[in-house]
């Protein structure tokens, strides 16, 4: 019985240890950006400010129900101070549900307005682009997403499940720019052309790298990552002609949570994330993200934002359109 007592006491240590009052030198951040890229930035913040960062990570790629649901469920008694989203649509969804609160960060100066919420509920930084990753040995070299419906690409293309993540953003952008009818027809043509639906952009990139398909729309970090791994892939910025659709740019977005327990520390973290220094780090990290501040150095493989023809679409419009097309996407994806 004594042994059981010792075991129980030892086992209770982690619970008792974490029952101390929350320190004022703490910030709680919920993160949807990939942990391998976001955690080093948060460690640097900890080191430079002495504020302890407590993080909850989630990934778009793992599609866990993680932090977005948690933030919504915690709305009446928030535990987080900051939400670091890997794209602005999620941050906008929090604004719609009254989970976040406005904050104008001085560090956001210099970031183009198209990457900020007009009411200051979130601010974008370090962006990804939706690109076409093509197998180097493939004879198909698509210059546009329209290649998905080309008969020569029948059964040779992949796309991540459009119910989740940045693929939803992309499809919602098509619906916003083209209108419902044309976008519906396009998506149905894509399906009829035998596209392979994958669970994530990462898996799509792996399919391309392995030659299981010729090309796929992926995020720029997935594309650069496969390039760095020495996989036989090429990156194409689609729809760059003068009257082309352009590339969808998806910045990270950071939002202050309404009623969070450490609002001042949260603001300090937001300032840090929006700084040029953070953008520089994320450009030179494996995710190779595109800085949104002018004048931030980038490695040769990362195009500057001013060198890309971008899609002109409002993220709030995307968020609304995403909710609207959910039934269509569920049916399209068979879920």
């Amino acid at each position: 019985m004594k042994a059981i007592g010792v075991v129980v006491t030892l086992a209770l240590i982690p619970i008792l240890a974490s029952c101390k009052a929350t320190s004022s030198r703490t910030v709680v951040v919920y993160v949807s950006e990939d942990q391998v890229f976001s955690e080093p930035i948060l460690k640097d913040f900890e080191r430079e400010t002495g504020i302890t960062v407590k993080s909850v990570f989630d990934t778009e790629e793992s599609k866990s129900t993680g932090v977005m649901n948690r933030l919504i469920a915690e709305k009446d008694n928030p535990q987080a101070d900051v939400y670091w989203a890997n794209e602005p649509v999620r941050a906008d969804a929090l604004k719609q549900r009254g989970v976040s609160t406005p904050y104008v960060s001085p560090a956001a100066e210099g970031i183009p307005d198209q990457f900020k919420d007009s009411d200051h509920y979130w601010t974008g930084f370090s962006a990804r682009a939706r690109l076409l990753l093509v197998n180097a040995r493939s004879t198909i070299k698509p210059a546009s997403v329209m290649a998905y419906t080309d008969p020569s690409a029948k059964g040779r293309a992949a796309i991540a499940n459009p119910l989740f993540g940045t693929t939803t953003d992309y499809v919602a952008a098509l619906f916003t720019i083209w209108g419902d009818e044309r976008a519906r027809t396009f998506m149905n043509d894509v399906k009829n052309n035998g596209v392979k639906m994958t669970t994530s952009n990462g898996e799509s990139a792996d399919f391309v790298a392995a030659g299981q398909v010729d090309f796929s729309l992926v995020d720029s970090d997935d594309a650069v990552n496969r390039k760095k791994q020495g996989k036989p892939v090429e990156i194409i910025y689609p729809d760059q002609e003068a009257n082309g659709l352009g590339v969808l740019i998806l910045p990270n977005a950071v939002a202050l949570i309404k009623g969070g327990p450490h609002a001042d520390n949260g603001k300090q973290l937001i300032d840090y994330l929006l700084s040029k220094d953070t953008e520089h780090k994320l450009a030179f990290a494996d995710c190779a993200q595109i800085p949104l501040h002018a004048g931030v150095d980038t490695p040769p493989k990362v195009r500057r934002i001013e060198d890309i023809k971008t899609m002109h679409v409002g993220y709030a419009d995307l968020a609304r359109k995403m909710e609207e097309i959910q039934p269509f996407l569920k049916e399209w994806a068979g879920q």
Binding site: V8, A11, C19, V36, F57, S64, E74, E331
Partner: protein, 517 residues
């Protein structure tokens, strides 16, 4: 003055209260939400669910997947369990524990291993893996140990005198068919119910292998629509099926008489000329179901750099995982033993059904319920600490420790308890002096089973761990997105080692005598 309240009753109600706090209250909180629409009572979510074009096909897919997985586990696991328990098969202990390895890992890691195998084979194998066939393969290899171990444990404890008597008038096939298997039926039936429920509720493997199922629908309502009410409505059929499973099992076992004697000895079937052939068959099974996928999964893990990076990234999570699981396993062991004690003799069937329903409900639904219930300013000491995670583990897995304890307690003759009662010993005294000492192995097995289940759990860990306090499976999952493959492989290896240590202990605890002491 009323009648004095018995200690037994108080403890029973405390146990019921714990199950209610950990599981039933959160589910009730979120179920309430599924009956409200725009602030009013409404069956809208349920109406939409049932009338939706996707519901019935997805339900059909889930049932088909669960039945196929249960059938494969039954067809391979029951003969294998009997073979390991009753025959002179060479290396049987090694085969049994090797086949158990996939169970201690989160199922998505096994699926990832298979994906790496087929990536090396080519596109044709990939087409097969990503669908129904692949799901059955992965889930069967993950859940097969449940059937093997419970069949092994049950058949090891069959009274050898009955088998000896039967052996006088019949060959081994007849003894197995007429005596051993019928007497092992509770353990085997429970293992099949467990496999069915686990396969029905499994989300990560169908999602990874792109096989649409009902848990995926429930998950989509959470992940894509953030619609808690609709997601709960989509999970209700899973709970309903769990109830059906429990009632089928109860009906199957009703009015049967089981006689066991844990003598530490068992009759052995001499396989004679078939030994080598069956050993080769088992070796092939181990290679196909365990070595092949895990070798592919761990192939990049053995580098010092990768291991160093893995420990840097997740060292604290390893320690947390072990500690959280140890605490939860201790609570689950005690709770399961007490509940098993109360359920002995077919009592408290409703409680049994509720615990199994909690087991069948997806971890995401349970977790959202826990968040909804406990996230208040007055209950921060639960919400903002690992206590919430441990409550989640307790609710989800108490059915397992309860049923394992019940199976063990059934092997103790009731006459011992009756003798204690007649000699004037109170309930607590009989519990501590008779039941617990005779159940040492049961308790150890229940603790280890709970520890492994908590350690490999992903949904509850993701949703309820406190900020900065994520356990290892959650960290592996979040690091998998664009993490270096060798580092991920090293993390998977660390996860396997953390899970295998208790498995080795389990192997030493039940070498041949089943689960009672």
């Amino acid at each position: 003055m009323g009648r004095p309240v018995k200690a037994e009753t108080v403890v029973l109600w405390l146990c019921v209260a714990l199950v209610a706090i950990a599981g039933l209250a959160p589910i009730a909180a979120i179920a309430f939400e599924s009956f409200r629409h725009n602030g009013h009572f409404s069956l809208n979510y349920y109406r939409e669910l049932i009338s939706g074009a996707r519901f019935w096909p997805l339900l059909g897919n889930s049932i088909r997947l669960a039945l196929a997985t249960t059938a494969v586990c039954g067809l391979i696991g029951v003969p294998a369990g009997i073979l390991f328990a009753k025959s002179d098969l060479p290396l049987r202990s090694g085969f049994m524990w090797l086949l158990t390895v996939p169970f201690v890992l989160p199922p998505y890691l096994v699926a990832l291993g298979w994906a790496r195998v087929v990536a090396r084979i080519g596109a044709s194998a990939s087409d097969w893996l990503f669908g129904f066939g692949g799901c059955v393969l992965v889930l069967s290899s993950v859940f097969l140990p449940i059937t093997i171990l419970l069949t092994f444990a049950s058949s090891s404890n069959v009274d050898r005198r009955l088998e000896e008597a039967a052996r006088l008038v019949s060959g081994w096939p007849g003894v197995l068919r007429r005596v051993t298997l019928p007497l092992s039926a509770p353990g085997i039936a429970f293992s099949l119910v467990l496999v069915f429920l686990l396969a029905m509720g499994e989300l990560s493997v169908p999602s990874f292998l792109r096989y649409p199922s009902l848990p995926v629908l429930s998950f989509t309502q959470f992940a894509a629509s953030y619609n808690f009410g609709a997601a709960t409505a989509a999970a209700v059929p899973l709970a309903f099926i769990a109830f059906v499973g429990v009632f089928v099992e109860s009906a199957f076992l009703r009015d049967r008489d089981y006689r066991f004697q844990s003598t530490g000895q068992t009759l052995f079937i001499s396989l004679s000329r078939k030994r080598s052939g069956l050993a080769a068959l088992m070796a092939a099974l181990c290679f196909a179901l365990v070595i092949l996928p895990l070798a592919a999964l761990f192939s990049d893990a053995f580098s010092l750099t990768a291991m160093h990076e893995a420990m840097q990234r997740a060292g604290a999570s390893v320690v947390r995982s072990v500690m959280y699981s140890a605490v939860a396993a201790t609570i689950l062991m005690a709770l399961g033993f007490l509940l098993g004690h109360f359920m002995r003799g077919g009592r408290q069937r409703v409680l049994s059904a509720f615990t199994l329903a909690l087991f069948a409900i997806p971890g995401t639904v349970l977790s959202i319920g826990l968040v909804r219930l406990w996230n208040t300013p007055c209950t921060w000491f639960i919400y903002a600490t690992p206590a919430l995670l441990i409550l989640g583990y307790t609710a989800q897995y108490c059915a397992v420790t309860t049923r394992l304890s019940l199976a063990g307690l059934m092997l103790i003759p009731t006459s011992l308890d009756e003798a204690g009662r007649l000699s004037g010993a109170m309930w607590a005294r009989r519990l501590f002096r008779i039941s617990i000492p005779l159940s040492t192995r049961t308790l150890v097995c229940a603790w280890l089973a709970a520890y492994i289940l908590c350690l490999r759990d992903v949904p509850i860990a993701l949703m309820t761990a406190p900020p900065g306090g994520d356990p290892l499976p959650a960290r592996i999952l979040t690091l998998m997105a664009n993490g270096a493959p060798p580092m991920i492989a090293s993390l998977c290896l660390i996860m396997a080692i953390a899970s295998l240590i208790p498995l080795v202990i389990l192997a030493r605890v039940i070498p041949s005598r089943g689960i009672t002491g």
